[in-house]
């Protein structure tokens, strides 16, 4: 009976490994074994020099950093405050942070596009119009940061909530205060260090979301990394697959680094 169980387990694991590894392996073969050219590593060596690679990757990274900064600045004080002084707001925040789950990215971007059109239609004579232009600047589209922060809220909420559940914020703050720390000092010196894992986790989930996000950016006409891969795919199939494989490996490395840094409890972010 024990042997039958082991056999069953290995069959299941073996089939799963096959399904998940074959596309990766095949992708690598696809990129190096080009019909008519034999084995070549052009797809990888040419990535850096290809038009738009660096600019789109940099744009994605900038967007990611900005999104992480904004979402943490908004969420951390709010979540800590919920534990300390405003427990009655808790359901409100929970609902607010879950709502983006109900609005798929494609629907969300449809709404955003409509709002952006209000600019030229109704506000062209007001100073608000300037704002609308600025947030749609091609070199750094702030509107994407706004959208990504909203899309990251559910995951960041869950990561921070799990982290805060594990520590007694009130006692920590009171202990720090009774040792003479001011409110900001208590937060920075006593609470945040204990939330390190949760903060890293939240940051990783947000990073993965922004780097892979396609829907919102492409429909609003911007060109961060995922949109660039898509565009390249039309003309240079090998290279687009090579970049896809690399992006997976980079995510993998990041997640392993995060696991090493003590983070747990990953959940899926949305895929655009």
């Amino acid at each position: 009976m024990a042997r039958r169980l082991t056999l069953w387990r290995w069959i299941v694991l073996g089939l799963a490994a096959l399904y998940f590894l074959v596309p990766l392996g095949a992708s690598v073969i696809f990129t190096v074994d080009v019909p008519g050219q034999g084995v070549t590593f052009d797809a990888y060596t040419k990535i850096l020099s290809t038009d738009g690679f660096l600019t789109s990757l940099l744009l994605s990274l900038e967007l990611a950093v900005a999104t992480i900064a904004v979402v943490l600045l908004l969420m951390v004080p709010a979540m800590v405050a919920l534990r300390l002084g405003a427990p009655r707001l808790r359901p409100v925040v929970e609902v607010v942070c879950s709502l983006p789950l109900v609005v798929p990215p494609i629907a969300f971007v449809a709404g955003i596009a409509t709002v952006l059109k209000w600019g030229p239609e109704y506000l062209s004579r007001t100073p608000l119009f300037e704002t609308f232009v600025v947030i749609q600047d091609d070199s750094f589209p702030v509107v994407l940061v706004l959208a990504y922060v909203v899309m990251a809220l559910p995951f960041v909420y869950r990561a921070l909530d799990a982290g805060l559940r594990a520590i007694d914020v009130r006692t920590l703050v009171e202990a720090a205060r009774s040792c003479g720390a001011s409110w900001p000092q208590a937060l920075v010196r006593a609470v945040l260090p204990n939330l390190r894992g949760a903060l890293l986790n939240a940051a990783f989930l947000t990073l993965a979301l922004v780097l892979g996000e396609f829907t919102v950016a492409s429909l609003l006409g911007f060109r961060p990394f995922a949109v660039w891969i898509y565009d390249v795919g039309g003309s240079q199939a090998q290279m687009s697959v090579a970049v896809s494989v690399l992006s997976l490996l980079v995510t993998w490395a990041l997640l392993l680094a995060l696991a090493g840094a003590g983070g747990r409890n990953r959940t899926a972010s949305s895929r655009g």
Partner: protein, 299 residues
């Protein structure tokens, strides 16, 4: 000395009462204002746009149910149903395959295997969108490595089809199921199994009468989560099939970018509202299930 002490004792209590309330509200306020603008405005735009029509000649807008009606007719309805069918089938398969996989990992006592599978699932569940589509195109597309080497083309294989999409979606749905169901499987206590055996149940009876009923809320919850995830997916489908398979996300994108007909933006918004309603329904099922499962498994 004594006065200094008593002041230290008393002062923080009084000031804490005054001060604690203010930061509480103040710290949550930016979040609420932000979401009201960045999420609230688009949400209002969807609602408003879904129910308004703009007269092309006069520019006047009026409220109407025509967009919603249109979004539930003809090709739009086909796309909506197509999305529901694709999501339901992929989610069911993902759950059916993810459960035994998670059980295989949990029941093996190897920490190494467990860590490896969970980490891999964490990555793969996030590995959606364009890169995933391209990896499968390279593998099973018309010029894909397997298609060419195994001669799949002759046997009628087509990645750019409904079942092709299901195969690709499973690539992130199965890991998502593994991540969702593993904590529930960990929560199955060994005492339950032993108590069942002690009461004369066989291994099969244990699964049928104890394990599966206890897991049911988590399983359903996972199923619903997978459905929502597949339902909302756009990039993978867009990069793979273009419009070969009718999906509501593709329809919205087409209508928004004016690919098909100009002036369909409001129908896109109506379709978006349809999606929100379906997703909302999904969450309404998911949350109570999640709560019940937590009550059973974390006692």
């Amino acid at each position: 000395m004594t006065t200094a002490l008593s002041r230290v004792d008393v002062a923080p209590v009084a000031s804490a009462k005054r001060r604690r309330r203010a930061p509480g509200w103040l710290a949550v306020l930016p979040l609420l204002v932000f979401t009201a603008v960045a999420f609230g405005l688009p949400a209002v735009a969807i609602l408003d746009g879904a129910f308004t029509a703009k007269d092309a000649t006069t520019g006047a807008t009026s409220y109407t149910g025509a967009n919603m009606t249109a979004s539930l007719q003809g090709p739009y309805l086909t796309a909506l149903l197509g999305s529901v069918k694709l999501s339901a089938i992929s989610a069911a398969l993902g759950a059916l395959i993810g459960l035994p996989l998670a059980q295989a990992v949990v029941s093996s006592r190897s920490r190494w295997l467990r860590e490896a599978v969970l980490t891999a699932s964490g990555v793969l569940a996030n590995f959606g969108g364009v890169p995933l589509a391209f990896a499968f195109v390279a593998t099973l597309g018309n010029a894909g490595v397997l298609t060419v080497h195994l001669g799949l083309k002759d046997s009628g294989w087509d990645l750019y089809s409904f079942w092709g999409l299901v195969l690709v979606y499973l690539y992130f749905l199965i890991p998502l199921m593994v991540l969702t169901i593993t904590p529930a499987l960990d929560g199955l206590r060994s005492q339950w199994r032993e108590a069942a055996l002690n009461n004369g149940a066989t291994g099969v009876q244990y699964w049928r009468h104890v394990a599966l009923p206890v897991l049911a809320p988590s399983l359903l919850g996972g199923l619903v989560l997978l459905f929502g995830s597949a339902f909302a997916a756009y990039a993978t489908a867009a990069a793979m099939v273009g419009s070969a398979v009718p999906l509501v996300t593709l329809q919205i994108a087409d209508a928004l970018s004016g690919n098909v007909l100009v002036g369909q933006e409001n129908v896109a918004l109506a379709l978006s509202l349809d999606m929100v309603l379906v997703a909302g329904l999904v969450m309404a099922v998911y949350l109570p299930l999640q709560r019940r499962s937590a009550r059973w498994l974390d006692a």
